[in-house]
């Protein structure tokens, strides 16, 4: 009876260890997918911003509230912060508002380099003529697009690996412990 109980505890423990290790692997896969999703969302938002500035000369506060409503998660919260700050902190320069909103959202799954692209864009938004604005936004889009291609490749190659690795490591731990 006691031996049967010990076997049950070992079996349940093994399952839990394997599941936990697999979960860690899947979380890593999820973070890779979220990175790709966030880059896609920000590039789409920049496309909208470029068109609004170039063809309709829409002022930035209006663009920010539009993007906060229509962008995909998780980038919509960033534009929401910008829109809110433009309403409440009217005397601040746009660059400061943009950078503050960026640093208020550390949960955005962007690398430091990707954040630098966005911060650089913040220094030119609102200034110059519509064509120059469109060029600057287009440049940011193409820089982010390169990061997106890289992130997609990483997801394709490492995504499956992390998933399998989690399960294998879990099984290895169980074998060692047994």
């Amino acid at each position: 009876m006691k031996g049967w109980r010990n076997d049950m505890v070992k079996f349940i423990g093994s399952i839990m260890i394997t599941a936990a290790a697999a979960m860690i692997g899947f979380l890593k896969v999820k973070s890779l997918s979220e990175h790709v999703k966030a880059l896609n969302a920000v590039i789409s938002a920049l496309e909208v911003m470029r068109a609004e500035i170039l063809f309709r000369l829409t002022p930035l506060p209006e663009i920010m509230s539009q993007l906060s409503r229509n962008s995909d998660d998780p980038i919509s919260c960033f534009f929401e912060s910008c829109a809110e700050k433009l309403k409440t902190e009217t005397s601040k320069p746009f660059t400061a508002i943009w950078n503050e909103a960026l640093s208020e959202h550390p949960e955005l799954p962007f690398s430091q380099e990707e954040r630098t692209v966005l911060a650089d864009l913040g220094t030119v938004l609102g200034r110059y003529d519509p064509e120059q604005q469109a060029k600057a936004i287009g440049l940011a889009e193409s820089r982010l697009d390169r990061f997106l291609k890289k992130a997609e490749a990483v997801r394709a190659t490492q995504g499956r690996m992390y998933g399998a690795l989690g399960v294998i490591i879990g099984i290895c731990i169980v074998i060692v412990l047994l």
Partner: protein
């Protein structure tokens, strides 16, 4: 709708000033703030305020290039690109109908000014409403049996647009017993201060405003589409504006317009055709001595 006097207009402008210039403006008494007509900013010089009797500089409040950039960013709601079209003509109009005139380096391409860079001077003109400013003119219409096409002539800064707005408001709201359908060609947005499709300055209940369109084209569009009894436009300057005025007059619609000039004799030298074409029946002059006295003259046809 908020009635805009000098004080409330100043409060709106105050919001777009950088902190250093806000502190300088705070040195003025509320009586002075009410009387300010223009805020003048010249890069590297002290900020000054224009009163009817002249400019008053605030010692120590030197305007930096960053201050001018700050004002432009605030005035355009962080979107200078949205005002590029009017900046080509050296001005932007901000919420509340206040006009910011500017000087800097003009960018010229193919003989045409395409923009202004390195802005060095700003002249912020505070928009005001003086309900009743046009009473004298309206009385004249009553005597004459109704509205007749009128040209308001005065030098810059004497209140032409303010008078024009008050005449529009009173005619539109039925002063003299008739509610006129007034169509306004508001190219610069200074007459009505349109924002979000709503006029922020009172132009009357029966007034339609076409905002941001060149005056000559706007006047003809209004004539064809809005069935007005009166078309109003500010600052007839170019031959195209004069031609549009002539066409309107020949279509049975009355015209209300303003024009720069210190008097009729000066205007006659410059715009002989405009006065002698029979477009306008009345000329209204505003004195430039700060007292804003109005004189009305019937034009020879």
């Amino acid at each position: 709708m908020i009635k805009r006097d000098g004080e409330s207009g100043f409060a709106e402008i105050f919001g777009i000033l950088p902190d250093s210039l806000k502190r300088a403006a705070d040195n003025l008494s509320w009586k002075e703030k009410k009387r300010i007509e223009d805020i003048r900013l010249r890069s590297g010089r002290c900020v000054s305020f224009l009163f009817p009797e002249g400019e008053k500089s605030i010692d120590g409040a030197v305007v930096g290039a960053g201050d001018i950039e700050h004002i432009l960013e605030q005035a355009t709601k962080h979107s200078v690109y949205s005002a590029m079209e009017s900046m080509k003509y050296g001005f932007i109009t901000i919420e509340g109908g206040h006009r910011i005139g500017m000087c800097g380096n003009a960018v010229v391409k193919n003989g045409e000014v395409t923009g202004l860079t390195k802005i060095s001077s700003l002249s912020i003109r505070i928009a005001r409403e003086f309900p009743g400013f046009a009473d004298t003119v309206l009385k004249q219409y009553e005597k004459a049996g109704g509205f007749q096409s009128t040209l308001i002539v005065a030098p810059p800064g004497c209140g032409k647009t303010t008078l024009l707005r008050d005449i529009i408001r009173q005619l539109s709201d039925g002063a003299g017993g008739v509610r006129h359908r007034v169509a306004v060609a508001d190219e610069r947005g200074e007459i009505s201060a349109m924002s979000g499709g709503v006029a922020q300055l009172d132009v009357g209940g029966h007034t339609d405003v076409l905002y941001g369109c060149p005056k000559d084209r706007a006047a003809l569009m209004l004539l064809k589409t809005m069935n007005p009894t009166i078309i109003a436009m500010d600052e007839i300057t170019s031959p195209a504006d004069t031609e549009a005025a002539r066409q309107i007059a020949n279509c049975g619609v009355s015209l209300l317009a303003t024009c720069h000039g210190s008097g009729l004799s000066e205007l006659e030298k410059r715009q002989t055709n405009l006065l002698k074409s029979g477009v306008f029946q009345y000329a209204v002059m505003i004195s430039s001595d700060g007292r804003r006295e109005i004189t009305i003259e019937r034009l020879a046809q």
